[in-house]
Subunit: 238 residues, 2 copies
DNA sequence: TTGACACATTTGTCTATACATTTTAGCTTT
DNA sequence: AAAGCTAAAATGTATAGACAAATGTGTCAA
């Protein structure tokens, strides 16, 4: 008996998917174009309609094509060429390294916007805000500080949450509609008073995430600082 | 004739998907648990196996369950609770503001890793790297500098690309397999010599993206600096 | 010209069946 | 006990047929 590096022929529905993708990649079929019917593919590839249906249905799930019952199958509009970055929760990162994670709510207060915050939140001076400061520990070492300002108008019950059970991020993901939330990320230096307060003068520059709704309301502004010894600060997946 | 708010019964495969999701949500079926076979669902729901197959196949595509041929269907491991940030291309951002975008390739060279780069790329000292420096303009103003190091082992034909047609990011998305690319993001200060070289001493701290494959190989390291006057530096979508 | 209706086209779902592929368990042989 | 074989179980793919639902078109009547 001999060993063969035989590679099985790809499944029929896969061949059809590849064929359609190739037509789109090559530019032969452009955005909005009507592509052949299931019946047509049936004849072209010599397969049953269910096989074609699966191929096109999966392409529709991947937003490569759009299918309209009674009408036909069209090449979908091009997606924004963008890179997706996955910001993992610091708790997961720490656990993945086999260490224990603990977070401490250092501060939770009701505040009024000063002029700088007011302009950031596009609110009037004195608008109600919530302010929280959470320190994340990897074993005994403070590795991250999270300085968060939340628009009270958008998340009125922020103060009454139990942040040992639900992280602020998890809460905001529920309170603010998930669709259409926009972030703006900037690299900034950590606000001096906070670093001083926590005796973490060696904290590295921070990242500021500003969570916005589609309508443009700023929901929250979060500044995150890391301890220089912390290797995994922020990682993502394309 | 009267109008009725009749809602059609959801499709059978949808009912099965919902049933499985509910069992998982309620905690009755936990991570790693073996769930009933297609045959079992066939009897429970009184449908054909193809219908059950479609339901479970779509749940597998959504990474809710994992299916192993010959073995069974299992509840998938919980996904990392993570935030997705969409980094739009600077070109799109500029165009969205109604301005013209232009990029200039300032530098494209073949280089050897010094000790710092070698440790970053986990390669030996002197390993082949490509180094490019691209400046993005909004109308006439330089708003972003992109300082990119690319692992020659992973992208051997990087130098021969025409970056006026294809951006380095677009090229790398094709050259490096899309699945399982990892980023690491850090806030850092801009390397002084580069800021000097471009007479952009007022550049703001930069963001470093390190693109890694699942196997851990560093594909590219990109440092990005922005002009302080540039409002939209980086935006994302949850 | 407009509206109503019938009909063809196209996708959406479902069924019953078949065979292939992979894993697992059990049995047999050494 | 270890190795190898066999069969059962479970998923993967494909088919031919059927009916439902949505869309578009053409015809006919008002």
């Amino acid at each position: 008996m001999h060993i063969e590096a035989e590679q099985r022929a790809p499944a029929a529905f896969q061949r059809i998917k590849e064929h359609v993708l190739e037509k789109i990649r090559s530019g032969e079929w452009k955005q909005g174009d009507l592509i052949p019917t299931e019946e047509a593919f049936t004849k072209t590839f010599g397969v049953s309609r269910m096989t074609v249906n699966r191929a096109l249905r999966e392409l529709a799930a991947d937003q490569i094509v759009v299918r309209i019952q009674g009408s036909g199958t069209f090449v979908a509009q091009e997606k924004f060429q963008a890179t997706l970055v996955e910001i993992k929760s610091i708790a997961d990162e720490v656990k993945a390294r086999g260490h224990t994670h603990r977070s401490e709510l250092q501060l939770l207060e009701r505040a009024r916007a000063n002029d700088q915050l007011a302009s950031e939140f596009d609110a009037s001076e004195g608008a109600a805000l919530f302010h929280s400061l959470i320190v994340h520990f990897e074993d005994k070492t403070p590795i991250q500080v999270e300085d968060r300002w939340v628009n009270a108008k958008v998340a009125p019950d922020y103060m009454s949450q139990d942040f040992s059970r639900l992280t602020p991020n998890e809460y905001l993901m529920r309170a603010a509609p998930l669709q259409g939330v926009l972030y703006r990320i900037e690299a900034e230096m950590p606000p001096a008073p906070i670093g001083k307060m926590l005796e973490m003068s060696t904290m590295e520059p921070c990242l500021v995430l500003r969570r916005k709704t589609y309508s443009g309301d700023l929901v929250a502004s979060v500044a995150v600082m890391w301890h220089p010894g912390s290797k995994y600060q922020f990682s993502g997946k394309l």
